[in-house]
Assembly symmetry: D2
Homo-oligomer: 476 residues x 4
């Protein structure tokens, strides 16, 4: 590893802190270097190079079409830019901090390479609309990538669920045993969360995919730009409607960060369950060795580190959302340099969400479900008490009265150290004379689970249908 960056930053506590007497007002770095280091963005916006080149090529083709530059110049620009892209791809491009950002680095190199025509590229454009275009192209791709990663995770979840339709475990509320449920039903609950995440990203993508190019600094330009042409070349849905808004709008980053925060919140909730389920006291699951870390001392230990790190990473994504809102809050129109600070939080968000989804998805197939232990968990805690109450209601006892009767029955069973299905019919009838032999059908875990057969319920037959439907929606 050992990137030069890391080596450097490791050298001192504060990479840029003066080594002595900073309070003397005499800084070890000359001012211009200090300012240069503070204002540069190339260290993080270099990752936009593909989008920047893509946008510039489209812009130059359009300039040629409207006669602002010649076709030859446009061709020369395109060839030059593609060549630069190849250099960057190959890791052979030298970025310069003095040239501040990705835009100036590329344009300067282009002019070096192709001469005069390079100086014409920026006609009718400003860095304000240029960077807005780049970041939208980038976020469009990021949205598509994250959506694909969510779907990969869903696919793995649905595959796991397929084997666990009839696996029964305790459903919890308040982390207390509540009612028996199908494990597949539980995993499908996770899938529902993820489906909403995809929807939210797709909605966000609509607002990302609007083209600011042509807005120039803030007011548009006096050249008769053909924005429909660039829009088509860059596959945007439409050109933006207002130049001032176009250079200052960062809503789509906040919306993406908010959608990402919800994704991470979802993963964090799933991780919480995985960590619980893998703990000594639950033992519901075993996580594949590859996704656990050992201890430096106890070889038997398999810590669910991936799940813990993903849970922890929810913090930074939520923090990034907050950062973006704070940055934008209170800025007057149009562009202010504060906006330079939007990139690192959003890039970190994209990376964190993508990597978390990827590793989480890979972990799912490695999980083994301990079906017996799960089944045992549902036998505890009088999980079928509700079933007894509903049985009574079907015999015409008003629900609130049935609830009272079951209360007494459970209290008696606890005193006797028995489960509900261990009670004899006589015992049960002492609480309600209407109770018949068929009560035992509803007191078993299977009876309980099977009876919840309406749409959305946990009955295996219903869960099986839900699973098929989920698979179908996923493959659309």
């Amino acid at each position: 590893m050992a990137s030069s960056k890391n080596s450097i930053s490791a050298k001192s506590t504060l990479s840029k802190a003066p080594s002595a007497k900073p309070w003397g007002g005499r800084f070890t770095e000359p001012t211009n270097e200090l300012v240069e280091a503070f204002t540069e963005s190339i260290s993080f916006d270099a990752r936009l190079y593909k989008q920047d080149i893509q946008g510039s090529i489209a812009h130059s083709k359009m300039l040629a079409k409207i006669g602002v530059i010649s076709d030859q110049e446009a061709n020369s620009i395109e060839t030059g830019l593609l060549d630069i892209r190849a250099q960057i791809d190959a890791g052979e491009f030298e970025w310069s901090t003095q040239l501040e950002d990705v835009h100036m680095n590329i344009e300067a190199r282009l002019t070096d390479a192709i001469g005069e025509a390079g100086k014409k590229l920026h006609t009718g454009r400003s860095r304000n609309d240029q960077v807005a275009t780049d970041i939208r192209l980038y976020m469009r791709q990021a949205s598509d990538d994250v959506i694909a990663l969510i779907k990969a995770l869903q696919e793995n979840l649905l595959a796991s669920a397929s084997n666990e339709v009839k696996t029964i475990l305790a459903g919890f509320t308040h982390l207390q045993v509540a009612q028996p449920i199908s494990l597949a039903h539980h995993l499908l609950a996770w899938n529902e969360m993820l489906e909403r995440d995809v929807e939210r990203l797709e909605d966000c993508r609509k607002r990302i995919n609007v083209m600011p190019l042509g807005s120039a600094a803030l007011a548009g330009t006096s050249f008769p730009l053909d924005r429909d042409m660039t829009c088509e070349l860059l596959e945007f849905d439409r050109p933006s409607r207002n130049s001032l808004d176009s250079v200052s709008d960062r809503d789509f980053l906040i919306e993406f960060a908010a959608a990402s925060s919800v994704i991470m919140m979802h993963l964090s909730r799933m991780c919480e369950e995985i960590i619980l389920w893998a703990s000594e006291s639950y033992k519901f699951i075993d996580i594949g060795d590859a996704f656990c870390a050992g201890s430096s001392i106890m070889p038997q230990k398999k810590n669910p580190d991936i799940a813990e790190i993903v849970r922890g990473k929810s913090g930074r994504v939520i923090g990034n959302l907050q950062a973006l809102l704070v940055i934008m809050k209170g800025q007057p129109l149009a562009y202010n340099r504060d906006n330079q600070e939007d990139k690192e939080p959003i890039f970190d968000t994209v990376d964190t969400v993508a990597r978390s989804l990827q590793v989480f998805a890979a972990m799912i197939p490695s999980i083994t479900f301990n079906r017996d232990i799960m089944y045992q968990s549902a036998l505890k805690g009088y999980a079928t008490a509700t079933d007894l109450a509903e049985y009574l209601v079907r015999l015409d006892v008003p629900f609130r009265d049935a609830h009272e009767i079951v209360g007494g029955t459970v209290r008696y069973a606890i005193e006797q150290g028995k489960s509900l299905s261990d009670l004899s019919l006589t015992e049960l009838q002492s609480f309600g004379t209407m109770i018949k032999q068929d009560v035992y059908d509803v007191l078993t875990l299977e009876g309980s689970v099977n009876s919840r057969s309406h749409f959305g319920g946990t009955a295996p037959a219903r869960v099986s249908e839900a699973l098929d439907a989920a698979k179908q929606r996923l493959s659309w």
Copy 2:
């Protein structure tokens, strides 16, 4: 005013703090009162009463249809509930903290009123799916209300913009004079923000409008619920697909809070501009007296208090979003009592956004634009320098060279204490011999603004079209 609540809370620093020796471990309140006060939710969930009654009526009708209760019982329940609603509407209902929440308060009263049938209402239902249904009905209405309020604000903005298409002011970047723009164009930038806000709420509404009713505690119920019927009665788009997810999902609150945070961020940005524009140094606008506050000492002073308060209120909405994310992060399935804490942040969000939009919208028509001062602002700062550069480009000077030339010209003009249009043709030609008499057309504010006539630009003719299109979209 003087609500009893306020009077009470004013009585001590900490309303519930023991008056003496809290460290003694002996609390002045008996434990059960302490716990009751801590866990009750009726003080804030009472506002869900309409939705709770609406949901219960639909549920009881469905129970009758599937034969779990009789038609007569369903009628009795409906009549009883409507009667309770009327009492609450009239402010004659006594809420009880001991009955904890809105659900139990209403059900208890119903049973008091109609007897046996009341005890049957909760059949096949749990408070978990009941509250989820209530809050979704509430948020659906809130979304529609907020959308309507945004549109009311848009209407006022477009009305103001209609009179200011040809009003020229300085467009700013970095709060420095950049280029002349049309005031209507500026106001239309605000309108763009608001249009996205409406879109986001409409997208959010799709995810709100899904019916959890029928999910019971977490696993569904053994009664053959007709969820399509309740769904239709309550005008939801579809019943939810997974009972576990249904009782634990609060994504829609977070999504609404995120959309609201963006709305407030937008209003905060507009307020920032209004405050600047109303300041002594700008004097671009006068705000109507009704929307300003005086000083306790200086009668000439008109502080833009409404704008300041709205700007300040962005903080609480953003804080509420963070609160909701923190509450949900790391909760295992299904329902946990943490979720009770979702209501106050979201109610406060709804109220804050609605009231801010309402008062902000009302303030807009009260604003007078000082057109002369705005025009003067655009004459400063060499706002047409870009136009000169673009003029040169049209004479075949590469853009980067044109930029250099204009740099020299402006430096010269500053030294001479002249504006660009004050320079003689000879002076101008000393920087570029290709410059002709027609250069003056582009150096005027009008020339500059008119030339930015492509789609999205600030030319009045184009702005006029944009305004018409905005009005049309609004009236859809």
Copy 3:
């Protein structure tokens, strides 16, 4: 309950939303009422009445001393204000929204009651320094109250710990069994968190307890105020040093909110453990009935609702901290009306922290520790493997080699289905010939725990000392 406020707010979805066609731009409320409702603060700042009166009395005494008002006038003001305080205490004061805030409500009433002298009270003062003084007096009391509540909780924790010094349970890392520890040691870890919380609040209090009174609107006043006198009367540590800063500084609110966020984070962590420990799978504890809630259906169920609500409430306090930072960020000097928005978040923070501490403290003595189950938990998971490694190190095996050896031993034990202490000496020696009979001393839970006897370790003798020291620090 049924405060008029709640009844009112329940009447419509949006309390202030117009009932129809809000987009029509025609609001049902006349503008002045709309603005009045939006800008009033009396609904939440009324709770500052005691502080407001306290500050006004000190101010008037000082004005008399420097001869700006007469002694008689000062007496009349004091009597009048004390009378008003008595009325408010008794709930007989009618607050008026038209008089905006607590300051004007009280001053207006005073002038009604005592005439001319009332009009002189505000001499040399502005609402800007008045409200800053009020809120500092309030927060000083709130800090003291919260500190007292933390100490009450510590007292209860230490009392519980006193009985559990020799109780052994599994210590967890990654929620996996790690090493056996003393339960009192675990509870003392909680106590450490709380001690830091007290320290932070005490540090914060130093910065709260500085007197802004005398700063007037922003620049001070032309009257020769004796700020040392008011400072002494109000028991502030010192008068503030800069009038501009004094009216705009809200750091102390943010610092209090940050300290409160850490308190709630601590309580949330403790609650997480309590919820786990009370779950069916752990059963480490039973929480007193009074602090649990039942289910509407399962009478055996005791949900740890208090712990869940406290955990959930961490969200709102963290959200309030963020709200305050957003409100202050970017405000130019000196006072801006945004600051009105500081009160509700901080009042909510004070209330939430105080109530959470109070109910959490009350819950602690109700918890029963299931010592046998805890002990059993430590027997699982090869919790003494580290002890074996350390035993080897004492026999001169380098630590990393010892670690290797223990790795093999544990793997063997797992295969044999034995615990480490079940292995015969011969079996153990097959992994290391240096192992002797005395190895069994370190493989028992008691041996393991007792051996960790250095300062800060979990050996009961050491824990006992730590407990005594903690009690002593608490009683200082």
Copy 4:
């Protein structure tokens, strides 16, 4: 520039995203690489190398003293570690991702270099207490560095203020002209904010400077560690009191992040004023060229980029605070891997605060104050109206009546287009017959400013004293 890291990360939209069909569940990276990349921390914790080595040397000396290792081994360890430090300093150390973190990288290298003794270093220690020690050593230095940087900024502010004691400008409330103030007084308000920041960091440092070393994994160790010795060697104030708490406590990071958020909020407020003051409409100041950025088109333009970026950077620091709170919220004791996520937010916070302070401090001496324009600003807006009211009070008019009278006077002056001091004595007397010739003394800017001479006021004589006192406190 072009660090290898940047080149790499620029290669694809999502650095780790699979290049094709991620939804296929087949990842291009083998699982172990995926997991390794996800869990490694060396890319960011390498910066702890000095602290890690410092801690290890102290630990080994102590192990020698208590006889667990020999003196020779301890010497060998020290020499080996110092050698490694020199390599890292020189940029010649190869970090390995497979060795996960800074601790294992260094220990592995040590054992390579010195053999057996290296394997003994980790005796009686765990990575849990090791990393906690490292990060506390790091944060102690970071606190000292940031304090020094704040003081450097204060020094520059006080130097600027020294020249501006008698410079008068408009003091603003609500961004409206309020009263004339001394510019030095305004700058001293900034200084007050910074002094509190120093205090908060000093308080935080007390809680940082506690030594966790010796807590091992969570329970301490069976070796008779001399924690007082390591404590002294590492210059900690005291060893921590509870091993469980020691490995899980991250309060000090949150407290540092909160203090940093307030620092950035302060800088953001100052930047807001600098941006306003540098704008065309205010022109109060000129910022040195080195701290401004030009436009790509308008050479006359000097955008206050440094101030804008600092203002924007407040967002990320506030976001980092939120991230840390979210990470910690709800973690059960003791160490969980979530905590690995604490490092990047806190390192970013340290870097951002340090760099922002440094560049902001450097900018201050470059600012030129346009005294005439500032003076003119105070002549507007009837800034001395309060002085007239206070004049009347001194003639025995009750304050509220004086306020009324001045209201009428100002209204009259506005109608006449005059300032207050332009009104003739006769005109003034028409509003109050008690007004005498000496009224003009209080209506001038100088008269107004000079009269506010009590402690904390803006009178130049008083400001001069305040400035001296501030300098003295700074040089302590």
